[in-house]
Subunit: 313 residues, 2 copies
């Protein structure tokens, strides 16, 4: 029996939320299940990851859940951060500092309002080669303007794109809280710009899933004056989902670059190990949910057909 | 004790959903409670109001609930409608025909896809002076483009604006299903265009609340792949709400034109009777909900401060 397959070397998710407690126990295992062996881990916990010690403790917790994934740890940019702490973090293997505009996403109440106060931090980051010449990543672009801005900039500026923003437009999340995330999906022309930049194989645009699990009751219900939680959860189906989407707009040949090569090159994490193979399928349906203990999550595309599955080794 | 008051002659809501059954019993009484004595009633029931007989039956039901309001009845434009039925409807006091683009709002599955098939209907409507020279109303404009389009057209084309679209922008309904309605609220510049056209006192732009009650469980919950109900409910607080909003952008002097004079003139329903007086207040809070029997509704601005209240006669 013949089948269509495609192989990808060491898929890497350069923006993922692995949470805390029982939810973390559930979703951290989904990184590998979704085909990924590297997770660039977001620090917006409660409280946020603000120093090296907290980052290393969190990394230990994630490794205890699934030691087969490489976790790249990050710090939350806050007034407490010092140039000395940057140097300490670099020595301990921390790879980035995340800047959260205040109040725009989950646990961003401590986000920044002005960058000027952080100039000494950025200088220290550059000095320790945390990024050679301070690399900057625009996370999850959703507009044509963002794509064009990043394209116009030099080699130290890159951009992550989520899987779900390749699929959704504003009509898909209007009243449908499960598709509601921040940044919100925009208009068809914006989605087209995201698809086009992937299709052209631009090396500074790569996957960061922004996979963001929330308890189902926080996703499904809103009360007057209170929004439901923002976030779309893609981890357990991530590689098959991205393959399905890229195939839908004729960019399947760019899969490896988008989900592995481009991001790894930008962050200096190249590898030739860890091949993952996908098989084209016609009757595969995404799970309605996953549970573990008192935690459960509902994935993007729950109950929908998906065009690819990971071949078990 | 002094107080600030403002009086309006015979407020008229030129676009309101009064529903059926127990929900209708509850919300029809809110027209008068909200300060209005004329309701231009939408025909998108289940099944829709498609002929004169159904319109008159529905009117009788509404009058039984509250005989103090003048109900202007409309038909749902569908392939069943004939030029003869238009003449019959006119003779029976029906005042308009509503065209629903298919599938875009509540109970619009039978909406239209192309206007050409209806040209004979429009001709008959013009002949019977249902509108002299076929007046057309763009319902609930939400964009600057819509405002500019209507302004550019002649005296037979008017436009309704809801109260809530004077308040909301996209961020207010993102994840907040209680503020989700169709058309969705757009960007700050679009809201500014709606406010500006009211502030200039343009006579072809007037209030149509689009007040659209839904059972709370249909507003608060969405499941994957299924949107919650679209609609914002403003009837029981309508006149105080509009006064509060117009005051917020310096257009309180245009209140009477916007909520009564302009729409009544366009539809040929002028009157000098029925003055309603509002009093400025500082500690008034909008009810969290209203109930009657098994029906309940949650209003826009539930639990929020509102700046005006109707003076009881």
């Amino acid at each position: 029996m013949s089948s269509t397959t495609i192989s990808v070397t060491a898929p890497a998710d350069f923006h993922v939320h692995l949470r805390q407690g029982s939810l973390s126990e559930l979703v951290t295992k989904h990184v590998r299940q979704g085909g990924f062996s590297l997770a660039y881990v977001m620090p917006n916990l409660t409280p946020p990851i603000r120093n090296t010690e907290e980052a290393l403790l969190y990394k230990t917790q994630l490794q205890a859940i699934d030691p087969s994934v490489e976790y790249l740890m990050t710090l939350y940019l806050s007034p407490e951060l010092t140039p000395d702490e940057i140097r300490k973090a670099k020595a301990a293997g921390v790879v980035g500092v995340k800047s959260y505009p205040r109040g725009v996403t989950t646990n961003s109440d401590g986000g920044i309002e002005s960058y000027e106060v952080y100039y000494p931090i950025f200088e220290a980051m550059e000095q320790v080669d945390m990024f050679p010449r301070l690399r900057i990543v625009l996370e999850h672009a959703t507009t044509r303007a963002a794509v064009e801005c990043v394209k116009s900039l030099g080699p130290t500026v890159a951009c992550t794109i989520t899987a779900h923003h390749l699929d959704l437009v504003v009509d898909d999340w209007a009243g449908q809280s499960w598709n509601f995330c921040k940044p919100v999906a925009k208009f068809p022309d914006d989605r087209l710009a995201l698809r086009e930049v992937i299709k052209e194989g631009h090396p500074r645009f790569f996957l960061g899933s922004d996979s963001a699990p929330h308890p189902p009751e926080k996703k499904s219900v809103s009360s007057p004056g209170h929004a439901c939680a923002a976030g779309v959860y893609t981890s357990p189906i991530l590689l098959p989902l991205v393959a399905t989407l890229l195939e839908s707009f004729g960019a399947l040949d760019k899969l490896e670059g988008f989900v592995s090569g481009f991001g790894r090159a930008f962050y200096g994490r190249e590898t030739t190990e860890g091949k993952v193979t996908l098989r084209k399928v016609s009757d595969k349906v995404v799970n309605e949910s996953w549970s573990l203990g008192d935690a459960s999550v509902v994935p993007f595309w729950a109950g929908k057909n998906i065009g690819w599955e990971i071949v078990k080794e």
